[in-house]
């Protein structure tokens, strides 16, 4: 499944970049993200609670930010496994300066497998857009508090 979108937030690219790299902020803002624990190798151990249609459950896995260019971009790589199967996300995130602050662009791919693919795939596109919007709204609020 393709993931693609953009959002403009009233804060500088530097602030947005910092917020979106901060595990505490991510746990507060990302719907369903319950834990994000830094690991020795620079990745994070992540626990998410997600529900798509009838498939609800706890997904555990790894999250890492790769190819990091400070205040400009990084690639978010996430692998999770749960009762409904697995979710793999590979997302390029870019921070561009744009009035009145920062345009965040994301583009990439999410792969789902197992029951979540068999039962929920048809709804996933809509669900992911919905989740991303919720996420960015919360990030925008965090940015205001800065």
């Amino acid at each position: 499944m393709e993931l693609k979108g953009r959002k403009v937030i009233e804060a500088s690219p530097e602030v947005c970049f910092r917020l979106l790299r901060d595990p505490d902020v991510l746990v507060r803002t990302m719907p369903g993200l319950k834990e994000l624990e830094p690991q020795e190798d620079g990745t994070y151990r992540a626990v998410m609670e997600m529900g798509v249609g009838a498939i609800k459950g706890r997904y555990a896995g790894r999250l890492s930010m790769e190819d990091v260019v400070d205040n400009t971009s990084y690639r978010l790589v996430m692998d999770g496994q749960g009762p409904g199967g697995f979710v793999n996300v590979n997302l390029m995130v870019q921070f561009n300066s744009q009035e009145p602050g920062c345009e965040i662009q994301y583009e990439g791919e999410a792969k789902v497998g197992g029951t979540v693919a068999g039962v929920g795939q048809r709804m996933l596109g809509g669900v992911s857009t919905f989740i991303m919007n919720q996420f960015f709204d919360k990030v925008a609020k965090e940015a205001q508090q800065q």
Partner: protein, 786 residues
């Protein structure tokens, strides 16, 4: 002989317990101390298993034990296939019950949890940590043959499971023919979805070594045979029981890893263990059906005489070979691609291909729907090419009544038939001429109606054991029957057939009641228990009544034979002077002196005064091995309308004229036709399993997999003709699969007829509104309807 119940619409005796909720399905059964199993299934279509960590699952509340592939692999055999078609170069790849280091389809079993209750077992599944290394996956059988495609098995380096050719050399006919039509067809993958999902309950007695397995199976004796080998339990120590089974449609033929694992755990833990599939599991873990790419060519004259047909097929086998899997796209398909037509030359070439998908096995009709679809569709393509009415084309080419027994180009001998009679009856019932006029009139108003025909024949009543052996089926196909008359004249009838919705408790009762002249309520038909029934090969391939019924008729005749000797003794007349009619034995011309079969049976049991050389008791077994398959046939007609604005196809009328020989219970025959037609229409219009590019099944629930619903159908019209099978003791032919075989092409032909003025020759099934709408749009862009 009087036939009091033969031909009567006797209400199904099994329904009384079923509608009262007193059926005994496997999952209904509860045993003291019973544990529950759940199976962790691969979410990946193709992956290496690096590691499986069960430590945290093992600590979950209620968990008794967690099993992985490496724990069971030394103690269990692999899951075998039981059909090895000769000259097919079949690659018998190993299929471990639990994956050890690699998974090859979404749904493959990876671990088994046994817990105190089913919820604990399910919860613990998600604590099992499997470290997968995903591999590229392939789900399309044609793409899987490309050299760049991922490979599934070392034993099959090209992903080719089998390559099989049959038939005559057709090249010369094709090169010299006036007309050659070619068409490729896609026969999409279907998911059987019987009402009852699969289930297994197994109990092991460690003191005696006896194991009892309650299974959702169509063939308990085949399951016993295979499971005994896989588990290493002597056959006489393993009892398989399939009491009530809620439909199978072929999906409960196969021996699955799930039931083997449940049995293994029951033996290991020395506690009864039950496993029941969820509906979501069913979508990925139970065998699928069809999934062909076919290239069909037909050579004929301009006057409509078919000279040759040849077929090249790519059949998806899934990731492993299921029990009957290899026989379905070969023997049950290739040998009958000429259909009901007198075609001198025909050939079929089949590639069976491994892909990262759920294994494919028999699904209602198994191979014969696929063959029928091809010939019935290409006949319509040919008719359009030469500008002939498809009915006229069929009339010219159908095998004529006087040609029976008819040997087809593959050496198969069609037993009997009057194909034109069913066609004529269909045309008369429909008033075909006025239907065509109506179609033309509607067309002038830009309304699109279509009429589609399918004049089918199928090969069922499986079958002669000698042929089974010759075509590589690793079993016999005969059937057994035992009739046990108790001292009071009541009867227990045991059959090796294993009905699971077909109503043989009723129809077999009717056969015995008629032959022995005892009331139906005095007869119990017992099936689906390997300890009670000596042997049987089960219910599939429309064989139960043709073969199991044949055995039963033989057994009944033997009862009468023995009773007659005792009756003669009682009547003090020579055996040759005794007449028998409807349970009464009497001296010729003196019916008033008759003794009833019940009295004779009592004397046989008492044994006080039996004729010399006659053994006491009244129990007879018979084994019947048919000399040929049976060949039901008929004409099915679909009338549809297509809405050009939405692409929606509506079934306006459906007529099935079938000839399955004489009907023992016409109501049950009609019920079988209804169910079969609905399933076949499901393929034509609604159903389809869809895998994405990563081998994920994206149609894994009833929200995404469209099952046919009652409201999609008009009242189904049924008619019958009766042409007995000359070799079957009852003359019967079988009717369980005809509806599915005939209806799919009838409906597609009707839709193509409706779309003919848009220049549409073929669309891939299912014919969903977007697909039909798109075809109309494409035609409109080129100038619209002609």
């Amino acid at each position: 002989m009087s036939r009091k119940l033969w031909g009567e619409n006797v209400a199904r005796r099994e329904d009384i317990r079923l509608v009262q909720g007193q059926g005994q399905f496997t999952d209904d059964r509860v045993l003291p101390g019973m544990l529950y199993a759940a199976i962790l299934r691969s979410p990946h279509a193709h992956a290496k298993i690096r590691q499986i960590d069960v430590a945290s699952a093992q600590k979950m509340p209620g968990v008794i034990k967690v099993y992985t592939g490496s724990m069971v692999s030394g103690h269990l055999g692999t899951i075998p296939t039981a059909w090895i078609p000769p000259d097919s170069q079949l690659k018998m790849v190993p299929h471990p019950p639990l994956a050890v280091d690699r998974v090859r389809y979404v749904g493959e079993a990876v671990a088994l949890v046994v817990a105190q209750d089913p919820y604990q077992a399910e919860e613990a599944l998600y604590r099992i940590l499997v470290d997968y290394e995903p591999l590229p996956a392939i789900s399309d059988p044609v793409q899987a043959l490309e050299s760049s495609s991922p490979r599934l098995h070392e034993e099959a380096p090209e992903n080719v499971a089998l390559h099989w050719k049959v038939g005559t050399d057709t090249d010369e006919v094709f090169s010299g023919a006036d007309v050659v039509v070619r068409q490729t067809f896609r026969q999409q993958r279907l998911i059987p979805n019987p009402m009852e999902p699969r289930s297994a309950l197994v109990q092991y007695n460690s003191a005696t070594g006896d194991m009892t397995a309650w299974l959702t199976t169509q063939n308990p004796h085949i399951h016993r045979f295979l499971m005994s080998g896989i588990l290493g339990i002597p056959e006489h120590k393993l009892r398989v029981i399939a009491q009530d089974v809620g439909g199978g449609f072929g999906s409960k033929i196969a021996c699955y890893a799930d039931e083997v694992l449940t049995a293994f755990a029951a033996r290991d833990l020395m506690r009864p263990v039950k496993w029941t599939e969820s509906r979501s599991e069913h979508f990925v873990a139970t065998t699928h059906g069809r999934d062909h790419y076919d290239e069909v060519e037909l050579a004929g004259t301009k006057a409509g005489r078919v000279l040759a047909v040849r077929v090249k097929t790519y059949a998806n086998m899934g990731a492993y070979l299921s029990t009957a899997g290899p026989g379905v796209p070969t023997i049950l398909f290739g040998l009958i691609v000429n259909g009901a037509y007198d075609i001198a030359q025909a050939s079929a070439e089949v590639y069976g291909v491994f892909t990262n998908t759920t294994p494919v096995d028999a699904y209602r009709g198994a191979g014969r729907p696929e063959a029928t679809f091809l010939i019935e569709r290409i006949m319509d393509v040919y008719a359009r090419e030469i500008g002939m009415d498809p009915v006229e084309l069929r009339r010219i080419n159908l095998i004529k009544k006087e040609q029976f027994p008819y040997t087809n180009p593959f050496g198969i001998v069609y037993d009997s038939g009057d194909y034109h009679q069913t066609l004529d009856l269909a045309l008369k019932t429909l008033d075909y001429a006025s239907l065509r006029q109506e179609r033309e009139a509607l067309r002038r108003q830009h309304k699109y109606m279509g009429v589609g025909f399918s004049t089918y024949v199928e090969m069922c009543g499986l079958g002669p054991s000698q042929v089974a052996g010759a075509v590589g089926f690793q079993g016999g196909l005969w059937e057994s029957a035992t009739i046990r008359l108790h001292p009071t004249g009541k009867a227990t009838v045991l059959t090796g057939a294993s009905p699971h919705g077909q109503g043989e408790e009723t129809t077999f009762g009717q056969i015995v009641a008629d032959r022995l002249g005892i009331p139906l309520e005095d007869i119990d038909v017992v099936h689906g228990d390997t300890d009670r029934v000596s042997m049987g090969w089960g219910t599939y391939g429309s064989r139960s009544t043709a073969v199991g019924g044949g055995a039963l008729a033989k057994a009944a005749d033997r009862i009468v034979e023995k009773a007659k000797i005792i009756a003669a003794h009682m009547l003090e007349v020579p055996v040759g002077a005794v007449q028998y009619d409807a349970g009464q034995f009497y001296p010729e011309g003196s019916r008033e002196r008759a003794v009833g079969i019940q009295d004779v049976t009592l004397q046989a049991h008492l044994g006080w005064n039996l004729p010399e050389g006659v053994e006491p008791g009244m129990e007879v077994s018979a084994f019947y091995d048919p000399t040929n398959f049976t060949y039901p046939f008929g004409t099915h007609v679909a009338v549809v309308s297509v809405d050009p604005d939405t692409g929606e196809v509506k079934l306006l009328r459906y007529l099935a004229v079938d000839d399955c020989g004489p009907a023992i219970n016409p109501m049950i025959v009609e019920g079988q036709v209804h169910g079969g037609v609905v399933q076949g229409v499901g393929q034509a219009l609604y159903e389809g399993a869809v895998y994405d590019g990563d081998g994920q099944l994206v149609s894994g629930s009833f929200m995404d997999y469209a099952m046919p619903k009652a409201r999609f159908f008009p009242r189904l019209e049924t008619q019958r003709t009766e042409t007995p099978s000359p070799h079957n003791p009852l003359g019967v032919k079988g009717v369980g699969e005809t509806g599915t075989i005939a209806s799919t092409p009838a409906v597609v032909n009707a839709v193509m007829d409706a779309l003919s003025s848009f220049g549409v020759v073929n669309l891939d099934m299912p014919l969903t509104p977007p697909k039909v709408w798109q075809a109309i749009q494409t035609s409109m862009a080129k100038g619209g309807p002609s």
